[in-house]
Symmetry: C3
Subunit: 659 residues, 3 copies
């Protein structure tokens, strides 16, 4: 394996197999073309069968055997599954559910990451691992823990830490009472110790928001602790493998880490939406690499057996997407079907009996293709001019204080804003709150309830002032950081910046607050209506024409000037067609070319110092086409394309412009 | 505000706003045309920030400021939200759920109304409030607590009180065992202390019925305690604002109160059914007033955001219905959107930022119209000749011992019996068990499982004997008061009164026990079949013609004589058309005129000593029409109508006959 | 009643009625033609009103009064409903749910069958009952307890017994850890006491399987204990009335019992599937009788009132099915509607008021028909040549480790395998794992995940070797007895027996792993695909033709030779038509005649030493027909049939060949 190669491998659980099986496994790994295995994440008991008695010899043999066959190791730390002896000695370390039940031993993540004994034991095993393998050249990366989301533990330590957390946030209880309007319902507290963990009953959304932030920060603290220990022993890159669940903050979590890791099990139907996450991970990672640490070769077989076999070609597209979109690794879960215990029927690379699954030949092909495209991938980067905001705080606010029944953050952002742009074939960065905006021409910020998030509002305003084009809304800038309404104005800064005035904000699917384009053609305004007066000098694109006379003359979409830049003030959820109409105009105005395209093609422009190309990936298992601006050659097949490229279902084309 | 004016206002929470905002609020209230605010129901902490330290100065200023601007106050007592210091001192006062969890602080109604400490503290704050404001002339009414439904608390005090309650009901445990057939399943108890609170497991329905009665009576006792304290200090009318949930007894609850209060959040789709509740409240109130204390200006925005914006005109119809149907007040929840905390996005009159919602101009119109119609409303009353029973005991019996899967009391009564009559444009009183029947020509009693409820059976029988027309059934008179079958007869009194004999009672949707009208046209007999023999001298209207030969010759609808009166014996749930056919015939026989009508118009005849008229309200947002018997003039517009009145969607016509 | 008569009766609860009602009841029983009543199952309190004070006098009077009128008694033991005094003295005997709640008194089965005090008290009352009635000639049978399924109690005694159970199964904890692959997730235990009861959280499926086996065995032990006591006092047949729920082992439970009992409440829609259970009970019973101890006369009226009235004729078909299929008793639940308490509205023979239900005349007819057919029934037996496996272990494995989302054992077996055969009019035995195979020509074994169940695999292999025809799969032989994958081979014995090799096993509904018959016509392969190579000398019937090229050339259905016999290797769930096509061919090859048939007729060939006939029962309430091989005469009507018999809805024909 050379340094620039794509990491290609799987999760391997040698602790559950006799050593005699290793030969078979390694032979098959080599046959599959893999160069890395992810090992050890749940093997605490095998490494420390009794408290303080460590045995890493077996693990050394695994790492060495793999290395001898050209396969490197990513080593996991095992706090997700403490051994039975730990919970026996510390029953209070098990997660305490609000109903009084303790999470039992037997699965994963049953311990509270705030528990001191658990933290202490975790530190010890991680330190030992670091000592043993920190300088092993065959361990090329470290994975901290596994998919850490603590959820709602209500143990004493959580409670104490939550109170300290609030005290740190507000200093005095009066400040807290004031910030959350605690005279409502006579909620006011006389000390921080009075505050309940808001996991049952009908609770103040600002309290719930603080609780959610606290639980996320507890998880983050636990991971960072693990990182700090390992850093004493290794120079290999360290990351933690996450899923994009519950609004846990990727940016904050990964800040001190060396590599951004991501696990996903997207199905056939959600595959076309998968680029969203890699567009996000790429910006979170910045100059660091990002790795796709888990995905299925075919079906996810958790205890519910949610999925079934995918079409041939799915595995290839699913494996190419992270790499094409900027990632440096793709690993499957799992190498070999477990011969027993949980997740018995999960898809894998080989069966428990050692025979290959039917997608094995596809996997061999992927390995070969990654090699073939290696220099192009290493010498180019994904190139974008547009960004869309995606923030943890917005996710949390949508959770704790719904504005419209059933409206969730990620699905709304995907369905109404990201997917229509992806369907246009326009590559977009998805960015958090800290990303520097200077490289972008256009920023799209729907559903960012509060701009009081890490100075996001200030940064955007400054960037617009200097010439940026900002599409703001709907539901953007309508709350303080704590999630309250503004009382001295309707919005944080948008009224001031645009000169428009918010006339009404209401849940309505365009039934009674209807809109039309200025040429009287219908404009589909869904879910929520923020109706604004038309600002001086602004160009209203639509007008309100519904039942409520006081709103007529207002608009849910206008183009306003601010400094050298532009603010598109959007107050509703347009239909796909209406939103695409707006995006195409904004692109035109900003010199961003939109090519002709049919079907579901993920379009990935890549540019380097000397090379330039375009990756096209069909994601919906249907024929599609894309209009090339200039002739290009497919690195994988050598075929030259020009004008309209016709794609077959699940085609992957790595097109490079002739040098 | 003059004494005969309609009370028009909203719920106002000054405890959650800086005093500096009051000026803005009051200016907007006056602009809206409001004359009353409902204040204080959750402000316990603001009035008693520490145990025993009272501060009412802020509240006096609110009441005085409002009064100075012509706005009166309805003052609430605050037991719904005890301050944190109370629960801290008395954690045992929190509701104990069957699963062992305590209801947490942070929402509303988290204390058990049977808890002694809670009662004691509630008494103290109410007494203080009474002393402070009992003689304040600007406090024109008192609201006790807020929407009190304790549900299933299983704390020690509830258990003890339940045992005492049963002891009072049965005197000896043997009586109880006998009444509930406790040899079944070896349930028999040897003492009252043995009896479980039947909130989990599979429990005897008679025990569950007693438990439900106990929890309702506990709530009623708690409210009456509050009333008794206030009566020491005030002459202003006292009520408690309820929702019609869980069969809680409106009649019993309101017995010692001065005003009947009602909260509702009906949606567009349920608006046509809303008159039911005012037809009921009017009879519960009798000579007392009833007030609509809560409704939304547009959307209900509880923590699930259940609703969206309504069409323009909805607010007006929704506000007119209680008044047209006999009420004296209509108040919105809430005046101004909360700037923070729970229910952040609920519809209101003005936004948190002080700007009006889009239905503000509609609200101004309503205020003006109430003034315009004031003398007509004051000098006339709603006039009816028909009554329909609606009883708490029937509701409870449907809950604790279902006779047909999924059949609930209120929906069944509405769908099959009330709505078809409302659609005919016939005004009906909805009455409980204590209402005097002497003024009615026709009484309709479906689903009254037991007539052993406050002598209801005796009263009806006497009234029929003297000439009344009674439509009895289905599912009426089939149980004892305790909810058991009769064993010495099939029915309590209906067989004896009519001479008909019950051949079978069975759950069947007319599939195998079919019926037809006597002319062989199909009669739609749904859900449940009580087949009777035809009584001597009775007129059977339908005949059974299904699979079961032993039932043929029987009928589910016959007209029987009793004394000077008539009993229509009905054994099934007819379709809307069949039920309307019957009702029209009964009206004809009783000299009750049924006008021609199309669409969804609520028709409200009003009569006074010297004046007479008809209010017509379109409730379904569709065109409709109504055939006038004589020319009338709309008080609101001055337009004169005769013959067919065409109504536009959400029209409100206050028609008066020329004097 | 003579010894060979069908037992015909109902459940009677005299403990809940005044003795004065008995005369009415007995008169009606005689009118109904009944000869047996089932009594006493819940009457513990009436028999032992205080601890140790017994009163059986009332029960003697009941048994004697019935006997005096020609009605025998089946007597129940009452542990299902211990009196309140027991639970008061032993609150720890109540089932402890995983959430910490105790099952309350008031329903049934609230005590843990592992609790020592409960066992002791149960023993005492049963011993007393045995002493009192063991030699009473009018007690012709004993029913142990009632529908015993303990479910998931987590009390201390359950925990201790579970640990002992595992210790007995594995001897050492290392063996257990090894068997369940406990290094996964660091689950390994250091002692049996460490092992959690796997009733919450995400648990090892092998642990869950062991837990399920333990809870079933606890129930079985409790029943066998009751049996052992009664055997000291009586020679009358003893059984326990069960429902086929949760995979509880009928075979193991009934092993030491004298009669196999069965309760069911099949509805109109599931009536055509009901023969399955009698085909199973008949083989479980073997030379013993089986009794249908509970079924509804019409609607089941549990606390949810799940059912409604059935068509006339339903009761007759529902009553005839168990008898025609080999049973010796049919009893209704219940005789007389309870006048109070739980299950108040359940269908019965007579109402609480003593009047007959509308199906009473049908019941009289059934009684007469049973008499008429008595000698034919006694002198013939149900005759079959085919068997299908149905095993408790397979049921448990489907529960604890789903292979495909939502796929449950019984519905899958019914929908895909049993029902299509029943629809062909082919009578099939349904057999467990211990049944001797020697009498069968064909054995069908779908979904038998593990053949390591009581030597099932060995027995089948031996039987095939000697000439049997075995249809094996899908999902058969794919697991060890503990539920793990094999690691040294793909299947336990099927590859070895057939010479075919398993290429892949995957969840897929034939979308990407498609199949066709050899003539290229489509073969519908659903849910799951086990693709095999074609064995040497085997006849492949279908070929795979889907997306995955490595599978093409394989097959999901082939006919292989083994010894003198045949193995049909099936790897998928065929459509009804495809499965019937296969079955018809297998029947033809084995000389089993398949008659022409239309509609839903249960076809029951019966043969005796000297007599022979065919019972035809229409089960779907629709017209149907059946082609007779030879002329026959209906015993009930005397009508002679030949060639095509046309059946009316719910017809029952007891056809006998002329002697």
């Amino acid at each position: 394996m050379d340094n620039g190669s794509v990491l290609f491998g799987a999760a391997y659980y040698p602790e559950t197999w006799p050593e005699s099986e290793r030969e078979t496994d390694i032979a098959m790994m080599k046959k599959a073309g893999m160069n890395v295995m992810r090992i050890g994440e749940f093997a605490w008991h095998k490494c420390e069968p009794e408290p303080g008695r460590y045995d890493f010899s077996w693990l050394h043999r695994v790492v060495d055997d793999l290395a001898a066959n050209g396969i490197k190791t990513i080593l996991g730390t095992p706090p997700a599954t403490p051994p039975r002896w730990f919970l026996k000695a510390h029953p209070e370390a098990a997660i305490l559910h609000p109903n009084g039940q303790r999470e039992p031993h037997g699965g994963r993540r049953h311990c509270c990451s705030n528990n001191s004994a658990y933290r202490k034991e975790s530190e010890k095993i991680i330190r030992q691992l670091g000592k043993e393998f920190g300088s092993d050249p065959n361990v090329i990366g470290w994975q901290l823990d596994n998919e850490l989301y603590s959820g709602d533990c209500v143990c004493d330590e959580c409670e104490k830490k939550f109170h300290l957390y609030l005290q740190k946030m507000f200093t005095t209880i009066d400040e807290l009472n004031k910030a959350w309007n605690n005279e409502i319902f006579s909620q006011a507290y006389s000390s921080f110790d009075d505050i309940p963990m808001p996991v049952s009953g009908w609770q103040n959304p600002h309290l719930r928001q603080a609780w959610r932030a606290f639980t996320h920060d507890s998880d983050i603290e636990f991971i960072h602790m693990q990182r700090d220990i390992l850093k004493e022993y290794t120079d290999a890159p360290i990351g933690t493998d996450m899923m994009p669940l519950n609004g846990v903050g990727y940016e904050k979590m990964c800040e001190p880490l060396d590599v951004v890791m991501f696990n996903h099990y997207n199905d056939e139907s959600t595959l076309p939406d998968l680029p969203f996450w890699f567009d996000y991970l790429r910006t979170v990672a910045g100059s660091r690499p990002f790795w796709n640490t888990e995905t299925a070769t075919s079906w996810n077989g958790n205890n519910q057996m949610d999925q079934i076999v995918k079409p041939a070609g799915f595995c290839r597209v699913n494996s190419w997407l992270p790499i094409a979109l900027g990632g440096k690794a793709n690993l499957y879960w799992l190498w070999r079907q477990h011969w027993a215990a949980h997740e018995l029927v999960h898809g894998a690379v080989i069966y428990a009996n050692g025979r290959p699954l039917p997608m094995f030949d596809e996997i061999q092909q992927i390995a070969a293709e990654f090699k073939k495209a290696e220099s192009f991938l290493n010498e180019t980067e994904v190139s974008t001019q547009i960004a869309m905001n995606f923030t943890s705080l917005a996710w949390q606010m949508f959770e704790v204080q719904p504005t419209v029944r059933g409206l969730s953050y990620y699905p709304a952002l995907m369905d109404y804003f990201y997917r229509p742009i992806e369907q246009l074939g326009i590559r977009t960065d998805v960015i958090g709150v800290k990303k520097d905006l200077s490289g972008y021409k256009v920023l799209i910020s729907p559903l960012v309830m509060s701009l009081e998030d890490e100075n996001l509002g200030e940064h955007i305003e400054e960037w617009v002032k200097n010439g940026g084009t900002w599409i703001a809304g709907p539901m953007t800038d309508i709350r303080t950081a704590a999630g309250t309404h503004f009382t001295d104005r309707a919005l944080g800064r948008l009224e001031r910046m645009t000169g428009a005035s918010l006339l009404a904000a209401m849940p309505d699917s365009g039934r009674y607050v209807r809109s039309q384009w200025k040429d009287n053609s219908p404009f589909s305004a869904n879910i929520w209506q923020e109706v604004y007066s038309v600002a001086d000098g602004a160009e209203p694109l639509t007008e309100v024409c519904g039942d409520y006379k006081s709103l007529n003359g207002g608009t849910v979409l206008q183009k306003c000037r601010y400094g050298k830049g532009t603010v598109w003030l959007l107050g509703t959820f347009p239909s796909c067609a209406d939103w695409q109409k707006l995006i195409v105009r904004v692109c035109e105005e900003n010199g961003i070319k939109v090519s002709k395209k049919a079907g579901s093609v993920c379009v990935i422009p890549r540019k380097g110092k000397d090379r330039k190309g375009l990756i096209l990936i069909e994601t919906a298992h249907r024929p599609a086409s894309y209009e090339l601006a200039e002739p290009m050659t497919d690195i994988l097949t050598g075929i030259e394309y020009q004008n309209t490229v016709e794609l077959n279902p699940y085609d992957v084309l790595i097109l490079e412009k002739q040098r």
